[in-house]
């Protein structure tokens, strides 16, 4: 196997996991959730009793995400986002990071 590709792949996984962990840590802090970030599965609905996100908390989360990762998330990306699960939120943050890197 191409070692270079393998290294790129493992870096990608590490970096992506890092983003997911940081997003979940922000969720615990901003929403004051009584659980560990590791216990928040990607498939959990943002509306579930465990998370109970509302639209105002979403904005608070995104401001915290901007502080953590830098840059500014585009208004339209947020308005158009179809956010249902924790995984969707992580994907939005990854999209933001990718946009910042290519900017």
């Amino acid at each position: 196997m191409n070692a270079r590709l393998k290294r790129l792949g493992s870096e990608f996984v590490v970096n992506s996991d890092d983003v997911a962990n940081r997003v979940r840590k922000i969720m615990v802090e901003v929403l004051d959730l009584p659980r560990s970030p590791d216990d928040i599965g990607f498939e959990i609905s943002l509306y579930s009793p465990q998370i109970q996100l509302d639209s105002l908390h979403l904005l608070q989360l995104l401001v915290a995400v901007e502080e953590e990762f830098g840059g500014r998330i585009d208004d339209e990306d947020v308005m158009d986002a179809d956010l249902r699960t924790v995984g969707d939120l992580v994907a939005l943050v990854r999209q933001h990071i990718a946009a910042e890197e290519t900017a």
Binding site: D54, S55, Q60, D75
Partner: protein, 461 residues
């Protein structure tokens, strides 16, 4: 004899380039807004669509002292701003007071009140966020008129749900909104399920701002590019209004005085904050002992008789809770002419300042307010909106006190809008048939007893 100078005017270039963010100077937490026990509507749609553009929200919770006003918004401001600051010489003479009375007049724009300051900013941010239609609930109609004009300016559609009794009693407000391209729907309406439910049980319901706002929210959620815009209370609205105080600071400098007391009417707090917050900053900087006074109606005394507690913003308890001075979200104030002051709670930022005793509050009955409004009209030749007449009343009392104590004092107050669409209220005052609405301790205690249990409402601490 040298002519007395009445006006202190600035040039279009002097329109502020930045709004003032008081969060830089007051340590108020912005993230401890509790979650609603039932953010039901959001769960039903299954879509977490923020109601506020992130760019507008971001600056309203940040710590940057000055927030740049977008160029397009400032250009719209320059169509009528800076607004004039007047020295009320005629009123001073009538009161035979040694006090110097100054007032900022925010009614010079087409919408007739300070509300346009935030409506234009909001329309700009919503437009940039891809929104196509703004909805709102309106009672007296000042906010609806301003939003209709702002939506027109930024090529957005606008639907205003207007409280049925105001819709019938204030046809000119409806016409104003329609003239500026808005669709005006009397509320309760058959357009929404909320409206249909109310009409089902009470076909001749006069409506309320709570119902109209709920309808506007529901309607916005049913539209692909729709959002619900609010005209007071939220941090971003207070932020936008600070152009009033920023201009007034410079105009007082032109007058060569600094106010000993700054006075504005208190509805939810945007016109008060707009004038008073920049003076709060200057107080901190200079150590001046200037008093900041919010004036509320006897009929809705949220600061003077309310409680600092967690409460909902709407009567149905569907919004996230905020910590504020409140009479309880189920409190229904008696009908009165200053419709813009009938909200049950005070803006969180104004509440936090009041709790720390950084500002003062007084309350007046309707006749006392119209008495001052009438005196103001007869001396200054300007009919103040009933809301603004509350500030006039407090300013007059401060000036009378100065006379009694034989001391000179400098008073600045905000005439947030004109009262030309409220002449029927003045007519009732002149005819001596204007009622005063007293609210009993029992009434307030009953609605405070229905405050939500904040610790039971979610995972917040």
């Amino acid at each position: 004899m040298k002519a007395l100078r009445n006006q202190y005017l600035l040039h279009a270039d002097d329109v502020p380039t930045h709004w003032y963010n008081i969060l830089a100077d007051v340590d108020v937490p912005t993230t401890d807004v509790r979650r609603a026990r039932s953010a039901a509507a959001e769960r039903e749609t299954g879509l977490l669509a923020p109601n506020i553009p992130l760019s507008m929200y971001r600056s309203s919770v940040g710590k940057d002292r000055f927030v740049e006003i977008p160029r397009q918004v400032r250009e719209h401001y320059q169509r009528w701003r800076p607004t004039p600051l007047f020295r009320a010489h005629a009123l001073e003479q009538a009161l035979d007071t040694p006090a110097h009375l100054y007032y900022k007049f925010e009614g010079t724009n087409g919408a007739g009140s300070h509300k346009l300051n935030s409506a234009l900013a909001q329309a700009y941010f919503y437009k940039n966020a891809g929104v196509r239609e703004l909805t709102t609930g309106t009672g007296a109609g000042q906010w609806g008129t301003a939003l209709a004009m702002a939506a027109q300016a930024f090529d957005l559609d606008c639907t205003a749900f207007m409280v049925r009794c105001s819709f019938d009693q204030k046809p000119y407000r409806r016409v104003m909104m329609e003239l500026h391209g808005a669709r005006v729907v009397p509320s309760p309406s058959p357009v929404t399920s909320t409206g249909r439910a109310v009409l089902g049980s009470t076909p001749d319901s006069p409506g309320s701002l709570a119902i109209a706002s709920s309808e506007a929210l529901e309607h916005a959620r049913s539209l692909p590019g729709g959002r619900y815009a609010v005209g007071s209370g939220e941090n971003h609205v207070l932020l936008h209004q600070t152009v009033i105080g920023e201009e007034a600071l410079r105009q007082m400098e032109l007058a060569g005085e600094f106010p000993d007391v700054v006075i504005a009417a208190m509805g939810t707090g945007s016109n008060f904050a707009g004038l008073a917050f920049p003076f709060y900053r200057e107080k901190l900087r200079s150590g001046a002992a200037t008093r900041l006074v919010a004036v509320e109606p006897d009929a809705c005394p949220k600061l003077t008789r309310g409680r600092y507690a967690w409460d909902y913003n709407d009567v149905f308890g569907t919004t996230p809770m905020t910590k504020m001075y409140t009479l309880g979200h189920t409190f229904v104030p008696p009908g009165m002419h200053a419709g813009g002051l009938r909200y049950h709670g005070a803006a969180p930022l104004v509440s936090a300042l009041y709790e720390r005793r950084a500002i003062e509050a007084v309350a007046y009955g309707q006749n006392a307010v119209f008495e001052a409004g009438t005196l103001f009209a007869r001396t200054e030749n300007l009919v103040p909106a009933p809301e603004s007449a509350h500030a006039v009343r407090a300013a007059v009392d401060e000036a009378m006190r100065a006379r009694a104590e034989r001391r000179s004092t400098v008073i600045l107050f905000n005439v947030s809008g004109h009262g030309l669409l409220d002449l029927s209220a003045y007519d009732q005052y002149l005819a001596g048939v204007l009622p005063d609405h007293a609210v009993s301790d029992e009434q307030i205690a009953a609605s405070l007893a229905r405050l939500p249990d904040a610790d039971d409402a979610g995972a917040g601490s």
